[in-house]
């Protein structure tokens, strides 16, 4: 062994051994494969955005004002065709998510991270939340149908007005609740323990510690999670189909802030898109209308997501 060491360490041997670099073709191939995967992904998604935008141009380019203020119509060339009713529905769905899912979700997260003792029951709740997050959205639609529309229990339909914006909002709030809990929980878990100990160390109670240290520190993460879940809710269509969104004609076209219409029949942007896509066979003009509605929805959703992601990244940088 030692002998081998000696000769292998002779100057010339060393020199030779580290020189004569060969290009590593396998590595390069691997790299370019991965790279093309990424590029392809981005390209496809770009095509999606571009093609949709192009399809919808005749609506959003030509008559944006009317399109935003118009309503569901029977013919695509109708001058009053537009998505205002859809926007109303989606807006209030977002609001009900904010009002219902956020406080409950964040509260639950705080309990799970800061209070819950480590026992069977707690881990049961945890598993339960994780699984809820994996339940398909149609199933939540069924829940909404049974509870809020048919009032199979507690006769909740009397409260929601049956197939109403309210029912849709509540259903989607329930749908995103687990997401809110999980993301907020992760944000809270990222709070360094030294902060907690520091607060306790000078005689803060648990809630004082949470209010003054944990929550402020976790705020950006929580906000990110909530924004993402709100975007998710606004984009969901399947549950709304089951909760009975209107695809034909909505009698009135409520002003955005008209609370009265909350318990009325409703529609929402994703539903408008679906319905118009299906009608595009009878009346091809509806394809463009659907694309236009998609652009409106995407603006809605992508802005929320960008805000969320941007926010998170800024704080991640600040904290190294």
């Amino acid at each position: 062994m030692v002998t081998r060491l000696i000769d292998s360490r002779s100057r010339s041997a060393i020199a030779a051994s580290i020189q004569g670099r060969r290009i590593d073709t396998g590595g390069l191939l691997f790299r370019s494969l991965l790279q093309s995967a990424l590029v392809l992904t981005l390209v496809i998604l770009a095509v999606l955005l571009v093609s949709v935008f192009a399809d919808g141009w005749s609506q959003i380019g030509g008559r944006l004002g009317e399109f935003l203020s118009g309503t569901l119509r029977s013919q695509s060339k109708d001058a009053e065709l537009g998505v205002h009713q859809g926007i109303y529905g989606s807006l209030w769905i977002a609001v009900s998510v904010a009002v219902l899912a956020f406080p409950i979700g964040i509260g639950a997260a705080i309990y799970m991270e800061e209070y819950a003792p480590r026992n069977r029951f707690t881990s049961f709740i945890e598993v339960n939340i994780r699984n809820l997050a994996g339940v398909p959205s149609v199933v939540y639609g069924l829940l909404g149908l049974a509870m809020l529309v048919n009032g199979d229990i507690f006769g909740l339909d009397r409260l929601t007005g049956g197939r109403s914006t309210l029912s849709a909002g509540i259903t989607l709030a329930v749908l995103v609740l687990p997401i809110v809990i999980i993301t907020s929980g992760e944000a809270l878990r990222a709070v360094p323990n030294s902060l907690r100990e520091g607060a306790y160390g000078v005689g803060a109670t648990r809630w004082e510690m949470i209010r003054t240290q944990a929550l402020p520190y976790a705020a950006p993460g929580i906000l990110t999670g909530t924004l993402l879940s709100m975007a998710r809710a606004v984009g969901e269509a399947a549950p709304l189909i089951l909760v009975g969104a209107v695809t034909g004609r909505l009698g009135d076209n409520p002003a955005l802030l008209d609370l009265g219409a909350l318990s009325e029949r409703f529609t929402a942007l994703p539903i408008v898109i679906t319905s118009w896509t299906q009608q595009s066979g009878r009346d091809t003009g509806f394809a463009a209308a659907a694309a236009g509605a998609i652009v409106v929805l995407l603006v809605f959703v992508l802005i929320m997501n960008s805000a969320a992601i941007g926010l998170r990244n800024r704080f991640e940088k600040k904290r190294g």
């Binding site: 004609r249 066979g281 009878r282």
Partner: protein, 317 residues
């Protein structure tokens, strides 16, 4: 010619409804309509025209299907129910048992049912009911070519597309074409199961377009101006007839069904908005809306009959 009809609608209706105590523009209130997705476009179109002269009336129209429509209607949840078939007795009974006794049945239009094949398929000039039953009916189960299903027809691969059972078009087709033959042959009046059903008429068209010797049926309103498909003349016993608005309106074309709306007379009495809407339906609606959305308008005679029914509020019993 649609925009004109809108403007006419304005003027005409004013004169027509001059009789009624208050002009529609003074009326306000809500009208709730649900039911057949086939009739839905008509009711919506009427509502859109009506809105111009009665801006304070809000009409909501939904199209879950005739059956769902009657369910709501008989629960008193809707004022008017669109239907692509007459109400069934059990539905009527459930209405009565819920104290909805004054139901006015109004025929508003006709929808032909077009039997189609791929535009490239010149071989088929005409099909008789027997042939249709042989091709699409239960006896056709498992047959792969036209000839196999019905001797005499070309020996070309057969792919069948049509509406699913959810749709009234499906039921009407069975009722009109199959019922009697099925009885004669002691078979069930239904389709073969090995066909491609779809609730979305586009999918049916796409299917027919995608296969050269395909066979299928959809509502005439939908097929009328579709490309890549050929509407097949049908022999209902007295000769081959092409489906055209005229042949359908004059019911020379054998496969067509009537479209209906059912009005809850009590609600109409209590709610001027409803009666005003139906009044308008009876005039502008029957005249321009039906045609505008691709259906076949009633003959003048049929229209006046419908108007009378409404005028006299003739209820079902």
């Amino acid at each position: 010619g649609d925009d004109e009809s809108v403007s006419n609608a304005g003027s005409n209706s004013r004169t027509d409804n001059g009789a009624s105590a208050t002009g529609p523009d003074a009326v306000s209130g809500n009208v709730t309509i649900s039911g057949s997705s086939t009739v839905e476009p008509i009711s919506i179109r009427v509502a859109e025209l009506f809105e111009d002269i009665a801006p304070d009336v809000s009409v909501t129209v939904d199209g879950p299907g005739t059956g769902d429509g009657f369910k709501l209607f008989c629960n008193g949840e809707t004022d008017i129910s669109d239907a692509s078939r007459p109400i069934k007795d059990m539905e009527k009974d459930s209405c009565f048992s819920n104290g909805i006794n004054n139901i006015v049945e109004l025929k508003v239009g006709i929808d032909g049912i077009a039997v189609m094949t791929n535009a490239a398929n010149e071989a088929i000039e005409c099909l008789s009911f027997e042939q249709l039953f042989a091709l699409i009916g239960p006896s056709g189960e498992g047959t792969a070519t036209w000839a196999e299903a019905s001797p005499g027809l070309p020996d070309a691969p057969l792919e069948v597309f049509g509406p699913g059972e959810e749709s009234g078009t499906f039921d009407s087709f069975l009722e009109i074409v199959f019922e009697d033959l099925a009885e004669e042959q002691g078979l069930e009046a239904t389709t073969r199961t090995d066909y491609s059903p779809s609730g979305d008429d586009n999918v049916i068209l796409q299917g027919i377009q995608s296969s050269d010797t395909s066979l299928g049926w959809v509502g005439f309103a939908f097929a009328g101006n579709a490309s890549g498909v050929r509407l097949i003349p049908i022999d209902g016993g007295d000769g081959c007839v092409e489906p055209t608005p005229d042949s359908i309106a004059s019911s020379r074309y054998p496969i067509s069904r009537d479209l209906w709306i059912y009005v809850n007379a009590d609600k109409a009495a209590a709610n001027p908005a409803v009666s005003a809407y139906v009044d308008f339906y009876m005039t502008e609606g029957l005249r321009s809306a039906v045609g505008a959305v691709g259906y076949v308008p009633l003959t003048e005679a049929a229209r006046s009959e419908t108007r009378d029914r409404w005028a006299s509020r003739t209820a079902l019993d």
